[in-house]
Point group: C2
Chain length 166, copies 2
DNA sequence: CGCGATTTAATCGTGTACGATGTATATGTA
DNA sequence: TACATATACATCGTACACGATTAAATCGCG
């Protein structure tokens, strides 16, 4: 039943599968390790972002805009692998917080351009310390950090290409 | 602005930060690599689980029960790092699908025991091929697979302990 | 025994995330 | 020009995920 192989346990009544850290009984699932790491990042960001009034996905959108202002909804969706049905309400919330403006493109009326307001730009200062905090919390050496990121990129790329083929 | 260091770009008008694969402009965020890998797993599982009528989190719960039947909601929450407010409705949906039963413990009336129905047990056969499919889709060597999993476990552990201290 | 603290679960509201569908605008092509 | 197609965005319904709160059962301690 492991995600990697099925060499561990096929009976229905066995105990958990071997020595484990503080993780649960799904330690042999790579997907679960990713799932848990993502949850852990979410928890950490939640506390860091609380005073900014942002959620984690909202923070990702703001980070994109801080790096390059004035993006279309499509640009943001491509960057974050998110659909319009997720982004439209999310960006409207950012607009309600007066952090961004949504402006119909005059050349192509289908396009909505998202750009920072003064408040949105100013928020960048308050967020400046966050990457450092996260890096420290991750507790990884530079090499481990890079290796992990590159392994995840490979994984994501492989998973996506399989999904396309299906 | 990188999650690792701030050595790349502090100006507000620069281009993206260097050479990138097919990823977007947040490639220097480890959290984002995790976020994307998690999304990619979700997409893959969505297609694999479609014929079973399960979502990915539901599949994780069923997997726990297939390995050891009869768990309390608390057990499941501990194993998946999820709260009751997530699990209660989720398990009720599994109950509505007649895959599990929810039974109040007679010894301790606070506890709800979750156990597989015949349908729930039978579904295991249909799900048997999934781990293999996922492992192949990940396209990693055994060593890369194990290294990645262990790096993610370290990361999760570090992130959680920081969260606790806060 | 009594009573406050803890444990276990549930409920409510907000915010992603996505499949299915809809709508308006733009583009290509005969 | 007319019409099919594609693109960009929006809406709706369902399902996680979690903070805050509530409720019931159990436990611990005087």
């Amino acid at each position: 039943m492991s995600e990697r192989t099925e060499n561990k346990d096929a009976s229905g009544t066995s105990m958990e599968t071997g020595p484990q850290g503080q993780g649960g009984d799904l330690d042999d699932f790579l997907c679960f390790a990713v799932y848990e790491a993502n949850l852990a990042f979410n928890h950490l960001y939640r506390s860091l972002l609380e005073e900014l009034g942002l959620t984690y996905p909202q923070y990702l959108v703001m980070t994109l805009l801080w790096r390059r202002n004035e993006r279309t909804v499509k640009d943001i969706g491509d960057a974050l692998s998110l659909e319009y049905n997720t982004l439209t309400p999310m960006i409207k919330r950012l607009e309600a917080m007066e952090l961004v403006s949504r402006i119909r493109d005059t050349q192509d009326q289908r396009v909505v351009n998202v750009c920072l307001t003064a408040r949105g730009s100013a928020l960048r200062e308050k967020a400046a310390a966050i990457p450092q905090c996260v890096a420290e919390a991750s507790g990884l050496t530079d090499k481990a950090f890079e290796d992990l990121k590159s392994a995840l990129d490979t994984l994501r790329s492989n998973l996506k290409s399989t999904g396309d083929r299906s």
